[in-house]
């Protein structure tokens, strides 16, 4: 028997195994024979040292925990026997099981994601309510401020009006004085009010800004911590997985690491989304605020222009007269 026929016969006995495995083991035997022949042994003697091919094949199959009868059956028929069919069916079953398992896990992960999103939305709603409460308070404060200013203005008007009725008796020249007085008494009040309003607005903005910064910093810190934890857990998971593959009994540890890495990761994402939500809020607030300011300034301009307009025609009339 020469090397080729020996290898062919052996392959027939090992046909139950995967092609890759067959090639692997046959290559070892062929290399072994090559070295023996190189060392000056006869080809036939080298092959005889292996003993009967059937027994050798049985031993190889035993190493794979395959019943040697299957190998024999295959070799005798030379056609795929019952064993291989069963094997293929089993493989398909395992594959189907694997794919369904994968689907289940992905669905599970999606569900968890949805749950977290809902939780996030709930927190967002609560946050929005708190924010709206703050805003309302601010608005009421501002409204109170404007009422006060209006009241002051009214007082100034009535005073001026009183002065005016008194002055009217004194003739036209006094009208000039009245008008000057009107503008003089009105302006300091207005300035004071504007100053108050601006200060209040500034303090409010500063407080809000501080709150936002604190909020962002807190969540960013939390996200960072969670991410670090997740990365650590992932590292542990990888290491333990390698050890597990080297058949250490570490299934529990691997599962714990996987779970904690997933939990840490999702926690980090949750924290990060919270900070981003706050940023968006601030963006929209920043977009809104200038508009508000613009309207405010426009109103101020209107209110500032009104007395001027009333003044000017009066002045012109005076000049004409």
């Amino acid at each position: 028997m020469n090397k080729e026929t020996f290898l062919k016969e052996l392959q027939q006995h090992l046909a139950v195994l995967e092609d890759q495995e067959q090639q692997d083991i046959l290559q070892e035997y062929s290399q072994h024979l090559d070295i023996k022949i190189q060392n000056g042994q006869k080809e036939e003697d080298a092959i005889r040292d292996f003993g009967p091919v059937k027994e050798l094949a049985a031993e190889i199959l035993e190493a794979y925990h395959v019943k040697p009868e299957f190998g024999e059956g295959r070799a005798g028929k030379g056609l795929p026997g019952l064993g291989s069919v069963n094997l293929k069916e089993g493989e398909e079953k395992i594959r189907r099981l694997g794919s369904s398992l994968g689907k289940m896990t992905s669905a599970f992960v999606r569900k968890i994601g949805r749950l977290f999103r809902k939780a996030g939305q709930g927190i967002r709603v609560i946050g929005l309510r708190v924010l709206s409460l703050f805003r309302r308070r601010k608005e009421t404060d501002e409204a109170a401020g404007t009422e006060e200013t209006a009241a002051e203005n009214g007082k100034a008007f009535t005073e001026c009006g009183g002065a005016g009725t008194r002055e009217k008796k004194g003739g036209r020249k006094m009208e000039m004085v009245y008008e000057r007085k009107f503008s003089e008494t009105e302006r300091p009040g207005r300035r004071f009010c504007e100053f108050c309003r601006g200060a209040a607005r500034g303090v409010g903005a500063a407080v809000l800004w501080c709150l936002r910064m604190c909020w962002n910093a807190f969540w960013l810190l939390a996200a960072l911590c969670a991410a670090c934890f997740a990365l650590l857990a992932l590292f542990g998971f990888g290491t333990l997985l390698v050890l597990l593959l080297q058949s250490y009994p570490l299934k529990g540890g691997v599962l714990v690491c996987l779970g904690s890495s997933l939990a840490g990761g999702s926690l980090a994402v949750l924290c990060f989304t919270l900070t981003r939500w706050k940023k968006r809020q601030t963006d929209s607030a920043a977009v809104k605020e200038p508009e508000e300011k613009e309207t405010d300034t426009e109103e101020e301009e209107f209110s500032a222009e009104e007395p001027d307009e009333t003044e000017e025609p009066a002045g012109e009339q005076e000049v004409e007269r």
Partner: protein, 107 residues
Amino acid sequence: MNPQFKKGVLELIVLECVRRKDRYGYELVEEVSRVIDVNEGTIYPLLKRLTNEHYFETYLRESSEGPPRKYYHLTAAGILYRDSLAAEWEEFQKQVSRFLEEGKEYE
């Protein structure tokens, strides 16, 4: 030597050979043959099994003569397995020899 004895202890001898030095198949067969007389063919399936059970890692290395050779290297799990086997062997051997010593009283 009783072939059943050989079969039982062959695994330990192969593990010990690879622990000392990474070896390729033929070298390993020669080394094992120095200790016990064993059919050359039986060592390859054993190597295959131990590799499948992650006690060995294999890698290819070029050789001066012929194609690249597949070297076997003992993994951490393999070292643990070898140690446990060696301890078992020690215990087994002691017990058997103690039993045989006891038997001398009956002579």
